[in-house]
């Protein structure tokens, strides 16, 4: 058996399937080098686990979020805005628009009143212009 170094982290995380875990543990029993590497990785994970927890939300977090949401259109209206936003996109872009992780591209249109710089305003103003290839 070759040294299963690449699987030692998964072993520590309990993410190896049973049979493979048995094989790797059997290897470790006879391989000081792999045991040393496992212990080094375990030491690192222990240090990471010992870090203080990140800050909790401040008392103002909820009120600020509530204020932002109060400026949002009702969810149904937001859906209409989103549909209007993507109506000029190509078909494949329309399909992808259903995925939330693309929303950042469209969010700027939904916040026309919030642009902060002239450059942003220029970008937003040109969003509805036909593309260079004349797509609708």
């Amino acid at each position: 058996m070759t040294h299963p170094v690449e699987e030692l982290t998964a072993l520590l995380d309990g993410a190896l399937p049973g049979a493979r875990r048995t094989e790797v543990e059997a290897h470790l029993a006879g391989c000081p080098a792999c045991r040393a590497e496992r212990n080094r990785l375990a030491g690192a994970t222990a240090l990471l686990a010992a870090l203080p927890a990140p800050p909790v939300p401040s008392p103002r977090f909820a009120t600020r979020l509530a204020a932002r949401l109060a400026r949002e259109p009702a969810p149904a209206a937001a859906a209409a805005v989103a549909l209007l936003t993507v109506r000029h996109q190509r078909a494949e872009e329309l399909a992808l628009a259903g995925q939330l992780d693309l929303l950042e591209e469209y969010e700027v249109v939904a916040s026309l009143g919030d642009v902060e710089t002239e450059e942003d305003a220029a970008v937003v103003a040109s969003l509805d212009q036909p593309g260079p290839k004349g797509t609708p």
């Binding site: 690449e6 699987e7 030692l8 982290t9 998964a10 995380d13 993410a15 543990e25 470790l28 029993a29 000081p32 045991r35 040393a36 496992r38 212990n39 080094r40 990785l41 375990a42 030491g43 690192a44 994970t45 240090l47 990471l48 686990a49 010992a50 870090l51 203080p52 927890a53 990140p54 800050p55 909790v56 939300p57 401040s58 977090f61 909820a62 600020r64 979020l65 932002r68 949401l69 949002e72 969810p75 149904a76 937001a78 859906a79 989103a82 259903g98 939330l100 992780d101 929303l103 950042e104 969010e107 939904a110």
Partner: protein, 199 residues
């Protein structure tokens, strides 16, 4: 996916139940602020980013389909947003928090596991936090996200794979490489002569 209480709340919100959104907020606000803080190491900015995540959730609820666990869906939204913010580069130039060595915020002593730390312990904790912040900044994006989701957020390899839209095998590799990098970066904090653990 119907057993996922978060998914049920999101679907209720789709039907107009504003209280469902409030419940989602209460269940995940703390985790989202903490997660965003892992990226920007600045409490006010972490709160802004977490607010952005909830606003996105609110705006796009009509598109939500419970095809994945809500938790991994939420972490995906937060991950993409945080990475986009980091790519804009403004955080690299952001000044360190007052009194914090190196750039990471001073540790929240109230959040330490137990008891009152000595000044030496607090200093050591701050140095370790700095070293981890430097480690995270130096990792490739996917390794960084995988490490944070695994070590700090407690997601399983399967959940990380869903979040990153990749395979469990790829996650295994990402987490391993990031952990190897962590072992190297944090070597000065390891005991001088670690005792071997029996296999």
């Amino acid at each position: 996916m119907t057993q996922d209480p978060d998914a049920a709340l999101m679907l209720a919100f789709q039907r107009g139940d504003q209280a469902a959104f409030r419940a989602l907020y209460e269940r995940h606000a703390r985790a989202m602020v903490g997660y965003c803080h892992r990226f920007v190491k600045d409490a006010p900015r972490a709160e802004e980013l977490a607010q952005d995540v909830f606003v996105k959730l609110y705006r796009s609820a009509h598109r939500y389909s419970p095809s994945a666990r809500f938790k991994t869906f939420l972490y995906r939204v937060a991950t993409n947003h945080c990475l986009n913010e980091l790519r804009r580069g403004e955080y690299a130039a952001r000044p360190a928090s007052p009194g914090a060595p190196g750039g990471a915020e001073a540790p929240d002593l109230d959040a330490l596991p137990s008891g009152a730390p000595s000044p030496q312990q607090a200093l050591e904790a701050a140095r370790l936090a700095d070293a981890v912040a430097a480690l995270l900044e130096g990792l490739p994006e996917k390794q960084r996200v995988a490490l944070v989701l695994c070590r700090f957020e407690g997601l399983s390899y399967e959940e990380i794979a869903e979040t990153l839209e990749t395979t469990v095998s790829a996650v295994k590799s990402l987490v391993h490489r990031a952990t190897v990098a962590a072992a190297a970066a944090l070597a000065p904090f390891q005991p001088a002569a670690p005792q071997e653990v029996e296999p």
